[in-house]
């Protein structure tokens, strides 16, 4: 169903030495550098997890790929086409190829619009569909994210967090994109909902071959969905490699610190991890 023609495994996105600065509020304050020359690549049909703590620049990188943050220098190529420095109009033409699912399912849907309006808006405005076709497509999309078709006439506030996030995923899928930037898409959700939504992400990828840039602060979430994982710290990627390596036996001290800090939901194993963490700290391997 997706318009994707790219073979799985070919390069879809290449981010090279991207620098993003934010002007600081106030007088004579230097800009804050959120990204210090970050490089990353995503293959078609692949999930790249981007882990980091608050202020690490992971969300900024996602926004830079989406064109929502101004890139000071460096290059972002999508399917070989340079995105940095393009005009808004050119950027819009790319719009259907790269989509987004945001963290907060409560503010990412316009509270005054029905689900159908939300989902059909990009279809009508960008996909050139007429009302009736858009309506049909909306049903398909809702089905795809496991929402009942009568959801179309409802307002976002009638849905729980998990259901809203499904709507947000449906909106991202509407224009059959080849890459979806997922910015902490499950961190506002309850535990049980979180697992289900993550599985939905995986299912959709398997059906459509869409690639994800999956931004999260939670190593275990990233491990669940990613093929490769990049770890960000203070605006730089400190480790980038296969998921099984980075999230299980990482090389970089910061990644190890991150891994050790996350408590295991099992008292016995958590006790062991705590001891391990303490020893690593005493040995000075992590701080």
């Amino acid at each position: 169903m997706s318009a994707t023609i790219t073979e799985p495994g070919t390069e879809l996105l290449r981010v090279e030495n991207v620098v993003v600065d934010f002007p600081m509020r106030g007088w004579r304050k230097p800009d804050f550098r959120a990204l210090h020359g970050v490089s990353l690549d995503i293959k078609a049909g692949e999930t790249v997890g981007l882990v980091g703590e608050s202020g690490s620049g992971k969300t900024t990188l996602g926004r830079a790929v989406l064109g929502l943050a101004t890139v000071a220098s460096g290059s972002i190529k999508f399917d070989g086409v340079e995105l940095v420095g393009t005009t808004t109009a050119q950027r819009r033409a790319m719009g259907s190829q790269v989509q987004v699912v945001f963290q907060d399912p409560y503010t990412s849907l316009n509270p005054a619009m029905t689900i159908e309006d939300i989902l059909s808006e990009p279809l009508v405005a960008r996909g050139g569909l007429n009302r009736a076709d858009a309506r049909k497509r909306v049903r398909t999309l809702l089905e795809q994210v496991n929402l009942p078709s009568d959801a179309a006439d409802r307002l976002p506030r009638e849905f729980s967090g998990g259901q809203r996030q499904r709507v947000a995923i449906a909106r991202a899928l509407a224009l059959s994109p080849r890459l979806i930037v997922c910015d902490e898409p499950v961190s506002a959700l309850d535990l049980s909902t979180q697992a289900r939504v993550l599985d939905l992400f995986v299912d959709i990828q398997e059906q459509t071959g869409v690639a994800y840039l999956f931004v999260s602060h939670d190593l275990s979430v990233v491990r669940h969905v990613s093929h490769r994982v990049a770890v960000m710290y203070k605006g730089e990627i400190v480790e980038y490699g296969p998921c099984s390596k980075v999230t299980v036996e990482p090389d970089h001290p910061y990644t190890r610190k991150l891994l050790m800090a996350a408590p295991v939901p099992d008292p016995v194993r958590q006790k062991a991890r705590r001891e391990q963490r303490r020893e690593l700290i005493l040995a000075g391997e992590i701080n």
Binding site: R92, Y106, R171, P265
Partner: protein, 593 residues
């Protein structure tokens, strides 16, 4: 609500979908205001039909005539019918207000939209101009320009419209800046929607309601100001206006005192209707727009339980039990109905024990915690059962007695560190104030103790943090400060509400270590409210699992994780991702890709 019932949607509350108009019409005040306004407008439009006389017809014998003669409301200083002039004056007054509102709204909304959405240079320029316009009392500027404008009130109202444009400008600009940063606008941008489409579909929708309300208010202001100018004699003497009539009545106040009542009442009634209509529309929008959209429950100033729980003094048999909840219910009343969010739970906390209270959002775990503290949000109260702390019933304690427990024997560490420190006071003041109030320490003693506490919770430079304001320290530091405050009186029971949820995982690990050390050192009991099973596994001796306001399973931590008995607990534990296999390995094993 969990995702489990995602296919079963609650029936749509139709009321929520009502149009604004119909909610306004169903509001008696709104309906009344609308009717009055409609009457005023109709009277003004069809003035010649309603007015018994021409507004300019002079009868010498009726100069300053009292009420009830040929002229129903009497005659004015020249001998004209007050009632007829009142009706005709409505026209001119309303047209004037319409002009001012039209000018201000058009200019303010357009400039506000542009400034808010595109920002940059235009924003700076427009904001500066708004400041210039707002800095002048309109009345004085209009007076100063009176000669330049000629005696046309309508021209003056155009200028007044310009002068009040900043009101609309600021309103719209602020709203637009807020919406512009909403994620759904970002999502629309990512979808490739054009700016004009985003403004038309997303931004205008948000701006609409406040602008309508502001318009009603501004129309009122315009009517009052216009009549003020006319009252000063700066109107067009050839046109009947309410302000002009007041001027005439004022000139004859010694002869015919009642004449000032009518035009004043006309102004007051019209303006009041406008304001009330604006309020009704605002209420209407609020009713339509607020659903369960709020993520966190509204929390407000605490209220003491209104209905005391049934049982009186209950003596706890086991001296080892510090806190005991028996069949406790917590409800929030809205009007006649009370909605129970905690539905009869039993819970025991032993001295020196760490009890985890786990559940998903809406399970009632936080409300349980607040009920123990006696700090439920307004409308919330303990509906049933008893809360026994150290052998004493506390659910029905009078406020001062409860206060004596809080902070001294029962302490609380909140979830969001930054929003739980008063931004206006230094950290030091916030630590020493309760120390002095609760423990009665001197200022010097309190300062020493606060510094020692800050050092104890692992703050590297206590004096600097002591002197800092909350916005100058990080979230992790702030949480340490709050922990320091909570343990300052060496409480018997510490209630920790999602204490690490807002923190980064590396900071979380440090705070958990700190809590563990402090708990052992002070051998205090801890109720750890959390949704995170990792945190539970790290810290808790025993665990109670909550779902839909009930405790469904209680066990020691070791047992609960090893052998969860309730299906819900099993489901929750199986949802944790800790043990999921890295995705690349899954793919490799399938060999599909």
């Amino acid at each position: 609500m969990t995702e489990a019932n995602s296919h079963v949607l609650a029936p749509t509350p139709r009321a929520a979908r009502q149009s604004i108009m119909s909610t306004v019409l169903h509001n008696p005040v709104g309906l009344g205001a609308l009717i009055v306004l409609a009457c005023v407008v109709l009277l003004s439009i069809f003035a010649p039909l309603f007015a018994p006389f021409s507004p300019t017809e002079v009868r010498i014998e009726s100069i300053n005539a009292p009420m009830g003669g040929e002229f129903l409301l009497g005659g004015d200083g020249v001998g004209r019918d007050i009632l007829s002039r009142l009706v005709f004056a409505g026209r001119n007054t309303l047209i004037g207000a319409l002009i001012a509102v039209g000018v201000a709204m058009t200019g303010g909304v357009i400039s506000g939209l542009l400034a808010g959405y595109f920002g940059k240079f235009f924003d700076s320029l427009a904001s500066w101009m708004a400041n210039v316009l707002m800095a002048m009392p309109s009345m004085i500027l209009l007076l100063a320009l009176f000669k330049a404008l000629g005696s046309s009130m309508f021209m003056a109202m155009v200028v007044f419209g310009v002068l009040i444009t900043p009101g609309f400008f600021r309103l719209v600009r602020g709203l637009v800046i807020n919406v512009k940063n909403e994620l759904y606008v970002d999502a629309a941008r990512v979808s490739g929607l054009s700016n004009s489409r985003i403004i038309g579909r997303h931004i205008l929708l948000v701006v609409r309601a406040p602008v309508v309300i502001q318009t009603a208010v501004v129309a009122g202001v315009a009517i009052v100001l216009q009549s003020g100018l006319e009252f000063l004699g700066l109107g067009d003497p050839s046109l009947p206006t309410w302000g002009g009539m007041l001027q005439d009545a004022f000139a004859n106040i010694y002869v015919s005192p009642t004449a000032i009542i009518w035009p004043g009442s006309a102004i007051a009634i019209t303006v009041a209707s406008l304001v009330l209509l604006g309020n009704a529309i605002r209420d209407g929008f609020q009713r339509v727009d607020t659903g369960p959209a709020k993520r966190r429950q509204k929390r407000g100033a605490p209220s003491s339980p209104t209905e005391p729980a049934s049982s009186a003094e209950v003596v706890e048999d086991d001296p080892n039990v510090l806190l005991s909840l028996r069949n406790v219910g917590v409800g929030y009343s809205a009007g006649e109905t009370t909605k129970e969010v905690v539905r009869g739970i039993n819970l025991q906390v032993h001295r020196g024990e760490v009890l985890g209270l786990v559940g998903e959002s809406g399970s009632g775990k936080t409300q349980t915690a607040f009920s123990i503290l006696g700090l439920l949000a307004p409308g919330g109260h303990v509906t049933r059962g008893s809360i026994i702390f150290d052998g004493k019933e506390i659910s029905n304690l009078p406020a001062p007695a409860m206060r004596a427990l809080r902070g001294k024997r029962i302490a609380y560490v909140p979830q969001e560190p930054m929003s739980n420190l008063d931004p206006s006071f230094r950290i030091g003041d916030q630590l020493t104030e309760p120390l002095r109030a609760v423990l009665g320490l001197s200022k010097k003693q309190a300062t020493e103790k606060a510094l020692a506490l800050l050092a104890r919770v692992g703050i590297p430079n206590p004096q600097r943090t002591f002197d800092a304001y909350p916005h100058e320290i990080s979230g992790g530091m702030a949480q340490r400060v709050l922990i320091a405050g909570a343990i300052s009186c060496e409480p018997d029971l510490l209630i920790a509400d999602e204490v690490t949820t807002a923190l980064d995982v590396t900071i979380q690990a440090e705070v958990l270590d700190l809590l563990r050390e402090l708990q052992r050192e002070l051998s205090m009991a801890v109720i750890l409210v959390t949704h995170n099973f990792g945190v539970v596994a790290d810290l808790c001796d025993r665990v109670a699992v909550m779902q839909n306001g009930q405790i469904i399973e209680t066990n020691t931590a070791l047992e609960l994780f090893a052998n969860p008995t309730h299906p819900y607990t099993q489901m929750l534990l199986s949802s944790t991702l800790e043990d999921s296999v890295p995705r690349d390995l899954v793919v490799a094993n399938q060999g599909a890709r």
